[in-house]
Each structure stands twice: as C-alpha cells, then as structure tokens.
C-alpha cells in the first residue's frame, strides 16, 4: 500500500533548530526581494544574469551557488561536530542526526563541489582555448538552471516535508518505501535527477567545446592542463551520469509507483542499487578531483615560473585515471559478500589508481624543483595540498586491501580518509583557483593578507578536525552514530575534532569577509595579467569583455601566452584586424525550464502524480518553444569593439609591461 501524504506533514514543526531556520529563510527571502526592489535592480537582474548565456556569468552563478551550498553543508557538518563533541549529548536526536549527515554528504558532493568545479570550468576553459563561448551557450544556461532547481528542491526538504535520512548513498532496503515511508527520500531521488540532467548536458557541452572550438594552432597536446582535466572529467560525466539517471529513476519508480527493483519483496534486489550507485559514484569522485588537479597544475606552474613538468605523462595519467575510475566500484562494499576472488580483482584495480596519481604528484614536485617559487595564497593552497592529499591517498591504499577493509569499513577511519582526499583534493583546489582566477572574473584581486589568514585557519582546522578521526576509527568508533558512551574513551579525540571544526569554519568566514572586503576596497586598476601567468585567459582583459577575444589568438606552443610574451607576438591589436563578432542572444527559456522542472519535481516529491503530469506539459511546452526558436544571435560592431579594447589596453599596467 502506498502511504498518502498528509497536509499536516507539509511543514516540519516542533523542532526549535528547524523553526529558527524557517524564520531565517523567510527573513532572508524578504530581505533579498526588498533589497532588489529598493535598488531597482529587477530589470538588471533579469537582463544581465537570469537570462544570460555568457559562459563567464554562468560560471560566476555556479560559483556563487557553490559557495552558498558549501555554507549549508558546512553548517550541517558543524551541527554533527557539536552533537559528538561530548558523550551522550542530547543536542540532536538520532533522527535529526541521520538527516543531517545525509544532507551534508549530498550537498557537499553534488551541490557544492560540483558547481564550484563546473563554475570554474565555465569561466576558464573557453578562455584557455581562445574561444568566444562554449559550443552550446543556451544549453549551458539550461544546465545551470536545472542544477539550481535541483539544489533548491533538495534544500527546502528540511523545512517542507522532511529531509532524506538514509545516508548520501541511500542504500536499499533502508531507502525504500518499506523502511523510510516519509517523503524525505523522494527529495533525494528527484532533486538529484534534475540536477544530474543538467550535469550530463554540461558534460556533452564541454566535450564538444574542447574538441571543436580550440583556437588556431592549439592541438590537443598544446592545451593547458586545466582544459585537459576538464575535458576528461566531461568524458567521465557523459559515461557515468546516465547510470545515475537510471538508478534514480528506478528508485523513484520503487518509492512512488510501487515497482520492485530494489525492494526485498516480489523479487527485487537491494544489491542492484549499491552496484548502480557506485558505478556512478566512483567515477563521480574523479569528476570532482580531476578538474581540481588541473587547477593545481596551472597554479604550480605559474608560481614556480616554469612549464609544467612531464606534460605528456600528466595527460596519460588523467586518461588512465579516467579508465580505472570505471573499474573499481566494488571497493565501496567489500564486506557485502562479493567473495574473495571479486574483492581481489577490485583491490588490485583500486591500488593501480595510486600509480597515475603518484606520477602526477611527482610531476608537481618536479615542476617546483629549481623554480622561482612565489608564495601567493593560491600557491599556498597547492603546497598544502601535496602532504594532506598524500595522507588521504595512502590511507586509501590501506582501505583498498579487501581483507583489511573488514577492519576499517563503516568506521570513522573511512570518513577521515575521504575527507583527506576530498578537502585537499577539491576544496583546497577551489580556494586556490578562486584566489588565482578572481581578477579574471571580477577585475580585482582578493586580498592576499586575508587570504593567508583564511589559508592557515582552514588548513590547521582541517587537520585538527579529521586527523583524530583516523584514530577514533581505528579504535572502533563507527560512522553515522549520533552519540557514544563515556566508557568508550572516545571523548577526548571527539572534542579535539569538534574544536578543529570551529577553526575550519573560522577560516571559511575569513574567505567570506575577504570576498566582501575585496569587492568594496580592492584596486580596480589591475592589468590583464597580474600573476605573470602562462595561459591564454590572461591574454585578454580583466574582467573579461563579453566576447572574450577581439581577435582569437594563434597558438604556437604549450603555455601559449608565455610564448607570446617571450616572443612579443600577438600582444597588440591592429585596428584593421578587428572584425564584427557574432554572439548568441540572451534567453529566458533556460530560467523558465529550471522553474518548471522545479515545480514538476516538487509535485512528484509529494506524490501528487496528476499535478506533476500537468507540470510536465509545461516542460514539453518549453521544448516546443525552443524548437521554433530561430534567434541567431547578434553582431558586435567594429566601433564598439574598438572602444572596449582601447579601454583596457590603455591601462598603464597593460599587457606589454609584463614582458620580461
């Protein structure tokens, strides 16, 4: 029997923490609407941002959403740390704790890490290959709005209807209707589905962009390393996300329409979910970590003032990691009865991943060797990444041993391991990348002094938080347990870990303050190339004009812009070289699609099937409108280009000043 959704389940009431959040959300929304109205910015918001198809603006919206979601996921993390700071604490009950570790995991991976990486990819990749936009600009906007609709749908779960509570992996049978009858897990299935469709389209978009839109002379083996890693990550997205699409659809059918894919009754098989989930879930780890590796490559090369060491071996390593990423999924459930033969195979494939990753590590170290290292904030993140990530990697090899995994699995040792991989591997990279590319996005730098405070607080806080969890795990502290007894002896290390989390959060607060401070006070008169960098995005204005390049640069070697500076080629623009530029028009359709997908998803979450079907007609209407849309964009006139180019090239710290 299907349980019906009752109206009195609609708003979550009775918990003071959630009531506080509801009030805060309401006040924030009123504040935003009032603020935009007061400043008369609605038209501006609609014309410049909500309807934009410019890859840089879409990237900035991704980054903004990612930072917001990082805050939300971070608050979840702090709540967990507060609850486990002392034994037998009654701050959160077991149910609330279950919900919070579930949303923490989902939000951090899918709604924080993914948009931050995809956002930076959006801003940087077209610039690095000397293109004027991505291959399908409007599809790119649609990707963003679907991601955003999914993220918002997932986020309202805790105030309307209840959060998912079966872990971010949502294992069956627990996540099924039999054991989790509420609607929380419907949010999981449907919000991730909507965001996932957006991600899949981003993958297709970037594969075509990189294959087809590279500027003249940029062969595949002359691409900057960040473009390479983004390209391979996009290939993994295209090959892994459809599996998740299917898995989530089957979950939806099981939960809402009564099918028997993963149920215990009528022949369903719960292990099917585990396999499908990790067939996507493991490649997903590499989708987030590969672009991050690319960011480190750019930062290390720039601030060591050397070409990246072992370029070719870097490329082969990322391709190898991509291939291996599809062959290791069973290592997430060694203890679930696959048997020694299967476990051995997957142990070996898992350990093999350490080889190309090790190659990359040595390449970064050799890039720094004999380089003139400049200790900027961005570079500090890259330097801290190396030892922290190695701890994560080495404990990963420990976990990869099938037999030994019986000891580690389901303990905080595992939790410490993947935080040591994901935080240095992704979060450090994103922070470094923000400091590095901020001037390209906004035309001013982030404050370096505040940046260093942010860096030290965050790195120290991170280690103090997660290092004790290795030892707690080895002592037998299990993950996802909302409390522990005083007799267990876990109390001191848990307390240390909680203190670390506060330091970590203080670091993030400094970043937020830095963004505010720099937006208000930082120097706007900066050159296009403030770091003396090496790749093409630095060959054009900061912030980048909407058409990116007045004349698309010609590439003659790796580190194309460095070559241009060294040989004094292509840095100046002659007036007669300027031609009209064709650009795509803005469109409100992607925004509409995000809204209608969000509405349809919301109705389906509440199992109002007829209403959801009606909303689906709205989706089809959007598709039909798009089919008849023959808007072919517009042409930027030569005079306008001349004016824009003169403005930034005239600056006293212009492009030629950096030729050494």
């Amino acid at each position: 029997m299907m349980s019906r959704i009752n109206w009195h389940d609609f708003f979550i009431v009775g918990n003071p923490l959630i009531l506080g959040s509801q009030i805060a959300i309401l006040l924030t929304m009123i504040g935003v609407v009032a603020g935009v109205t007061y400043l008369k910015k609605w038209k501006w918001l609609w014309r410049e941002w909500l309807t934009t198809v410019d890859h840089k603006r879409i990237g900035i919206m991704y980054i903004l959403s990612g930072v917001l979601m990082f805050f939300r996921g971070g608050v979840d993390g702090l709540l967990m740390k507060a609850q486990t700071s002392r034994p037998e604490l009654k701050f959160l009950d077991a149910q609330h704790y279950n919900e919070i570790f579930t949303t923490h995991g989902v939000i951090m991976i899918l709604f924080a890490a993914m948009p931050l990486l995809i956002g930076i990819m959006n801003v940087v990749v077209p610039l690095q290959i000397g293109a004027r936009d991505v291959a399908f600009p409007q599809l790119n906007a649609l990707s963003f709005w679907l991601f955003f609709a999914g993220a918002m749908l997932f986020n309202i779960s805790f105030v309307i209807g209840g959060s998912p509570d079966a872990g971010w992996t949502a294992y069956f049978p627990l996540a099924g209707k039999e054991f989790t009858p509420g609607i929380g897990n419907n949010y999981y299935a449907i919000a991730l589905q909507i965001a996932g469709i957006g991600t899949l389209m981003t993958g297709i978009n970037f594969v075509v962009t990189v294959l087809k839109m590279r500027t003249k002379g940029m062969g595949l083996m002359k691409m900057p390393m960040f473009t390479w890693t983004s390209f391979i990550a996009s290939v993994i997205i295209v090959s892994a996300f459809p599996i998740f699409t299917v898995a989530l659809a089957l979950m939806t059918f099981d939960r809402i329409f009564g099918t028997h894919f993963f149920t215990l009754s009528a022949g369903g098989m719960d292990m099917m979910w585990v396999n499908l989930f990790w067939l996507w879930g493991h490649p997903e780890v590499y989708i987030v970590v590969l672009p991050a590796f690319g960011m480190f490559s750019e930062i290390i090369s720039t601030f060591s003032h050397k070409q990246l060491f072992g370029y070719k071996s870097m490329v082969f390593s990322i391709v190898g990691i991509a291939a291996l990423s599809m062959l290791v999924w069973v290592h997430h459930f060694f203890t679930m009865g696959s048997g020694p033969a299967v476990n051995s195979v997957f142990s070996i494939t898992t350990m093999m991943i350490a080889i190309p990753t090790g190659v990359k590590m040595f390449n970064w170290l050799f890039t720094m060797r004999k380089g003139r290292i400049q200790f900027t904030t961005a570079m500090l993140w890259a330097l801290a990444f190396v030892p922290c990530f190695i701890i994560g990697g080495v404990t990963g090899v420990m976990l990869a041993m099938g037999a030994a995994d019986y000891q580690y699995h389901n303990t905080l040792f595992l939790v410490a391991h993947f935080h040591y991989v994901l935080i240095p591997g992704v979060v450090f990279a994103v922070f470094g990348a923000l400091y590095y590319w901020w001037p390209k996005m906004f035309g001013h730098m982030l404050n370096e002094k505040l940046g260093k405070i942010h860096f030290w607080l965050f790195v120290i806080g991170f280690n103090v938080t997660f290092m004790p969890m290795f030892f707690l795990g080895l002592d037998g502290a299990v993950r996802r347990a909302y409390t522990f007894s005083a007799e267990s002896g876990f109390a001191p290390l848990f307390l240390v870990s909680a203190i670390g989390a506060v330091i970590l959060a203080a670091g993030f607060a400094v970043l937020c303050y830095n963004i505010y401070w720099s937006a208000r006070y930082a120097d706007r008169n900066i050159s296009n190339d403030p770091w003396d960098a090496r790749t093409l995005e630095w060959a054009t204005s900061s912030p980048v004009q909407f058409y990116n390049f007045a004349k698309q640069p010609e590439v003659k070697s790796i580190d194309a812009f460095w070559y241009m500076k060294k040989h004094n080629e292509g840095l100046t623009l002659k007036e007669e070289e300027i031609e009209e530029i064709h650009m795509p028009s803005n469109s409100g359709l992607p925004f509409y699609m995000g809204v209608i997908f969000g509405i349809a998803g919301f109705l389906l979450v509440f199992e109002w099937k007829i209403a959801a079907l009606v909303a689906t007609v709205g989706i089809l209407a959007g598709l039909i409108v798009r089919s008849f849309d023959y808007n072919d964009g517009f042409h930027v006139k030569v005079d306008e280009i001349k004016q824009i180019e003169k403005a930034w090239r005239g600056k006293d710290k212009g492009v030629n000043n950096h030729v050494s």
Binding site: V208, K212, V246, G258, H260, F261, A266, M269, M272
Partner: protein
Amino acid sequence: MSANVNTALPLEYQTEQNRMNILGFWIFLGAEIILFGTLFATFSVLNARYAGGPTPHDLFEIKGVMIETILLLTSSFTMGLAIFEMRRSNRNGLILWFVITLLLGAGFVFFEVTEFIHYVHEGATWTTSAFLSSFFVLLGTHGLHVSMGIGWATMVIIQLLRRGLTPVTARKTFIIGLYWHFLDVVWIFIFTFVYLARMVA
C-alpha cells in the same frame, strides 16, 4: 557561432554550428547507450525473478512483437530514404518519407501499447514482480523515446514546410535521423534479448 560556411559539404554540415550540433548529438547518443545499457543490465539481473507472477512463457506472443519489429525496422529504412531525398534537395520527397516514417513509428507505439494493455489485463503490471518492473521500464523507456521522437519530428516537419530546406532545418532533420536509427538498434537488442532469448529459454 562563427560563420565558417563550407558549401562543398552536404547541407547539414555546412556551418560550424551545425557540425558542433551533430557531434554533440553523437555524444548524447553515447550517453543514451550507457542509459539503455544500464536498463539492459538491470533486466538481465532481474529477468528470472517472477515472484510467483507470470513468466515470459505465460505472456509473450510472437505475433504482436513481430508486427512491432517489422514496423520499426521499416521505419528506419524509410527514414534513410527521407535523408536520401534531403541530399537530393527534394523537400517534398523528404517530407513524404518523413511522414511515412512517423506513421510507421506511431503504428509501432500503438501495437506496443496494445501489448502492454493486454499484459495488464492478464494481471501482469510493473508492480507484480521484479521481472515485470524491469521489463516495463526497459520497454517503456524505449517506447517513450519513440513517442517523443514522433512529437519532435512533427515540429521539424512544420519548420520544413515553413522554411524549406536550409542548413538549420537540414541539420535538425539529419539529427532526428540519427536518433531514429539509434532507437531501431535498441529495439533489435530488445527483440533479441527480451523476447527471443526469453521465449526460447
């Protein structure tokens, strides 16, 4: 975005944006292969789990399935003829074969829905057993693709009537051709692994 027109190529390949759209669609089809591959894998895991419900021997009848197969395979052939007429710049021939293709596709959907209704009357719904869940979702996903394709192609036919053969309408037609042949290939796998293999076993 850039004009970069090359009139030596077939109409649908002439502009850079068209070439990118076609490559993008090939990559989308790659994702579709993974999607259907996952559904086939699900079916192959669950296809003997009847849970006391009907088995393929109780349900499947070769006649209806053969009609569906012939309709869809023929529609793939007529789709080829439509693209052939497009290459000869014969818009009316293109539209004629295109419409025939869609009628055959609609016939396929009609017979598939009839088949499903028949199963439901025999008490075999997608909530009956894991076997039937995976059967209905695999075939339903394919059938939904065909139905969406018919709707999408209708839009393009309207554009062909209004605008004639241009690089844009030619590209749209060509991409639907790719999509249609892909669905045909998926059906061949369904026919083989869902019907034939399960009826012989």
